[in-house]
Amino acid sequence: MSSQSELNNTIWLDFPASLKYLNVLGSCITALLTHVKRLPDPETTAYNIQLAVHEIYTNCALHAYGNKPEAGRISISLLIDPDERFLKINLIDTGIPFNERLAVDPDLNEIHIHGYGLFIARQLLDTVSYQRLDNKNSWLLIKYFLSA
């Protein structure tokens, strides 16, 4: 896919680092997915993607910015590829680096209070990757759609 084609299909969202607008992000994702004509089990698929993205966004707001909306912004790009094979989402914040020690999956035989967020995102998406680039936290999320 050419970069121009990607650009023509990419949606950009820019949020203050606040949990207040989580519902707006959720609605955007659900609305965007209505453009995928053969989305398998649309309600569940949309819910699961929304939950996964929501977990990463919450991680950015709470950990990168310390739950201070004035501390910075979270930029999000969403792209459904023209063949409707996958959804690619990139979240970028300028907060403190993600502590990769937190990336360990929880032991599901124990009851935990924290540590489920990233695990849930990994379970629901095909790619969840993190990079520290140019003093920014960059999360790449990809969900492939199987044919209905």
Binding site: L19, L22, E43, N48, E55, I111, I113, H114, I120
Partner: protein, 119 residues
């Protein structure tokens, strides 16, 4: 999110509605703390029938609540989970930790039974 509660035969029923997420969780936590104050064994039913979204912060709030209730020889029971909401409980295997009932009536029956066993 919408939060209402009522007392039915000594069992508090907390009804939540809307999105139970990181933004809404502090209000639920505050309610739970209020109901746990006096150290008396109590049972609480959280009715999630009108909740259309649950994230890991909400889950953490419920886990904390469950632990506190257990410390006071009480129980925190859940009921009426929507199918999509159930996913997060299954992924984290917390569906086997929480007492989850299909209906509020079933949860009430269990809560009242456990109260009478303790009295």
């Amino acid at each position: 999110m919408d939060i209402t509660n009522e007392l039915i035969n000594d069992v508090t029923v907390l009804k939540l509605g809307g999105r139970f997420d990181a933004y809404a969780a502090p209000a639920v936590e505050k309610f739970l703390q209020k109901t746990m104050g006096d150290g008396r064994p109590r049972n609480l039913i959280v009715n999630l029938a009108q909740v259309n979204f649950v994230d890991s912060t909400a889950l953490a709030t419920l886990v904390i609540g469950m632990k506190h209730y257990r410390q006071q020889q009480g129980e925190l029971l859940l009921c009426h989970l929507q199918q999509t909401v159930r996913i997060i409980f299954e992924l984290t295997r917390l569906d086997s930790i929480f007492a989850i009932y299909a209906t509020q009536e079933e949860a009430l029956e269990r809560a009242q039974q456990s109260l009478s066993e303790k009295n």
